[in-house]
């Protein structure tokens, strides 16, 4: 039952993703990519669980810490770079200020 629920969630999210993205104009495609790339850093949640379950072996410790480092690079780098790019997109109104 839980698996069915997870698969259902997955399916709905895929359709939602398609609907959301088709509306983004091509001029924002680069920030969209780097922004969605930052969202894929959600795997940091998995990394937290991997790194935080207490070091029962050195293999797990290494895997956990590496996962944490990689996921954090993805999240921090992804959001910062997207923010930097988006702040440059200004219309005529924004320029005058």
């Amino acid at each position: 039952m839980t698996i069915m629920l997870l698969l259902f969630t997955f399916l709905i999210a895929v359709f939602l993703g398609v609907e959301l993205i088709t509306k983004v104009p091509s001029q924002l495609h680069t920030p969209l990519m780097s922004g969605s790339n930052a969202i894929s850093g959600i795997t940091i949640v998995g990394a937290l669980i991997a790194a935080g379950q207490g070091a029962s072996s050195w293999v797990l410790t290494i895997l956990g810490v590496l996962a944490m480092i990689c996921a954090t690079i993805n999240v921090v780098g992804g959001y910062l770079v997207t923010d930097r790019m988006l702040r440059m997109f200004k219309g005529k109104e924004g320029r005058k200020q």
């Binding site: 509306k23 680069t30 920030p31 990519m33 959600i42 293999v59 944490m68 996921a71 930097r84």
Partner: protein, 468 residues
């Protein structure tokens, strides 16, 4: 019972969805990105409350190292290097998903082992394998893309004999490993085979990315972006974690949509982009013999034409990024406007090395987004344009795509600059573009070649305007 963590995850998912929705307008995009970051923060904070988490020291170590590397890279990267760095960040996400899958496998393998093969165990095993497979391909593929985009390796397609056969063998190997893994997850030898699976995934990522040339990069980056989402989604199935599944599949879907938009903009199928090694045989393709000579123009003469023009459209390509000419272009655009001309920037969907690459560069140079127009909006009115200035673009303005049925790019939608009253092509030489195809545009009656480095030519034009 619904726990606090689940509510927080739900809120995070909603924030991601609203964040993505707000990314569709320049006016709301900055806030959209912040909302999505807030969602991420919420998901992280909630996870820290999870009872599975009992030690924090390694988490802190990981966060500190990752935040320093990611933060410094993000704040220091110049806008022209953006495609490479997006690929880099994407790769780290893929590697993280791989490590999460591996770590979960290690815990179960060395612990109580997997249960009998029912639906739940099957999905768990399949998801674990997919997390390491997709994560591995994302990581090594993104790193190759990064190296190619940052010119740390040759950006030409790399093809070798029997490449398809090697790819097929590796794929067969991976599928057999996956079947073995699902059937006998607890067998002692399986850990070694699991590691072999990771190695094969990494090799596969390299092999599928090296045959892809520079100008096809927009497709590959979008595809890898989608993979990183799917890898996170697979990791979500491993951990039974809804927020990973929702966020991962949102990204997976968005990447696929972008990929198909890029493919359509080149009138090629995804299979063709991934396997044809397009552009490897540069210069060998000559669909039609050219007649006549190209007419060249000095910047001084070009100035007199521009001075009299009442509408000017810039068509930038990757060459503008290479020459870092965006600021000079914007300065010239402003001078033309002051001179009474209507100035626009027409952008082809696959111009540059990643989706929307030109838009970012022009935004960096302070061009208001109202002046940026898409291909489908400029083409119907292009015959009313006095001067089109093509800067470092080639294949995306090649009329052979419209006129020459034998051309390899026939059918690709292009910006019809040859239909403008006059067209300047700023180019270093007569060499063909990435696709290795002659460009009949250079020989058209109304085309004038202005030879030289993009930035140098534009700066020369700016100086002509200023000195008069």
């Amino acid at each position: 019972m619904i726990t606090l963590i689940e509510i927080a995850y739900m809120a995070a998912a909603v924030l991601f969805i609203f964040g993505l929705k707000m990314l569709s307008k320049p006016t709301t995009a900055v806030r959209g990105n912040l909302l999505s970051a807030l969602g991420m923060f919420l998901a992280i904070a909630a996870t820290l409350l999870d009872k599975q988490i009992i030690s924090f020291e390694w988490i802190i170590v990981g966060v500190l190292i990752g935040a320093v590397i990611g933060g410094i890279a993000a704040l220091r990267v110049p806008m022209t290097s953006m495609p490479g760095f997006v690929a880099f960040f994407n790769g780290t996400g893929g590697l993280a998903s791989l490590l999460v899958g591996w770590s979960d496998y290690h815990v179960r393998f060395t612990g109580s082992g997997y249960g009998p093969l029912d639906t739940d165990t099957f999905v768990l095993l399949l998801a674990t394998f997919l997390a390491i497979l997709i994560g591995g391909v994302t990581f090594s593929g993104s790193m190759i893309a990064y190296a190619k985009l940052e010119e740390k390796m040759n950006s030409k397609p790399l093809l070798f004999k029997g490449q398809q056969a090697v790819n097929a063998l590796i794929l067969i190997g991976i599928v057999s490993l996956c079947i073995l893994f699902i059937l006998f997850p607890n067998a002692g030898v399986l850990y070694a085979l699991f590691l072999l699976g990771i190695v094969l995934a990494l090799i596969l990522g390299v092999l599928v990315t090296i045959p892809i040339g520079g100008a096809d990069m927009p497709v590959v980056i979008s595809l890898l972006n989608s993979y990183s989402g799917m890898a996170a989604c697979a990791a979500g199935f491993v951990l039974g974690n809804t927020v990973l599944i929702v966020a991962g599949s949102l990204v997976g879907a968005s990447g696929i949509i972008l990929t198909s938009i890029m493919c359509k903009a080149m009138n090629r199928s995804l299979i063709n982009v991934l396997f044809s090694g397009f552009g490897a045989s540069a210069g060998s393709v000559s669909a039609s013999a050219q007649k006549g000579d190209a007419k060249s123009l000095t910047p001084e003469d070009a100035y007199f034409v521009l001075e009299a023009a009442s509408s000017v459209v810039f068509v930038p390509g990757y060459g503008m990024a290479v020459a870092q000419a965006q600021h000079a272009v914007k300065e010239l655009g402003d001078l033309l406007q002051k001179n009474g001309a209507e100035v626009k920037y027409a952008i082809h969907p696959v111009a540059g090395r990643m989706p929307g690459h030109m838009n970012v560069l022009l935004a960096e140079a302070n061009v208001p987004y109202e002046q940026l127009v898409e291909m489908d909006d400029i083409n119907p009115i292009i015959d009313t344009v006095d001067v089109c200035i093509v800067i470092g673009a080639n294949d995306v303005v090649n009329p052979a795509a419209r006129e020459d049925e034998k051309s390899p790019i026939y059918g690709m939608p292009i910006i019809n600059v040859d239909m403008a009253r006059c067209c300047f092509v700023i180019k270093r030489s007569m060499a063909s573009g990435f696709a290795g195809i002659d460009n009949p545009l250079f020989f058209k009656e109304n085309t004038r070649m202005v030879f030289g480095d993009a930035k140098a030519v534009i700066t020369a034009l700016v100086n002509e305007f200023k000195s008069s």
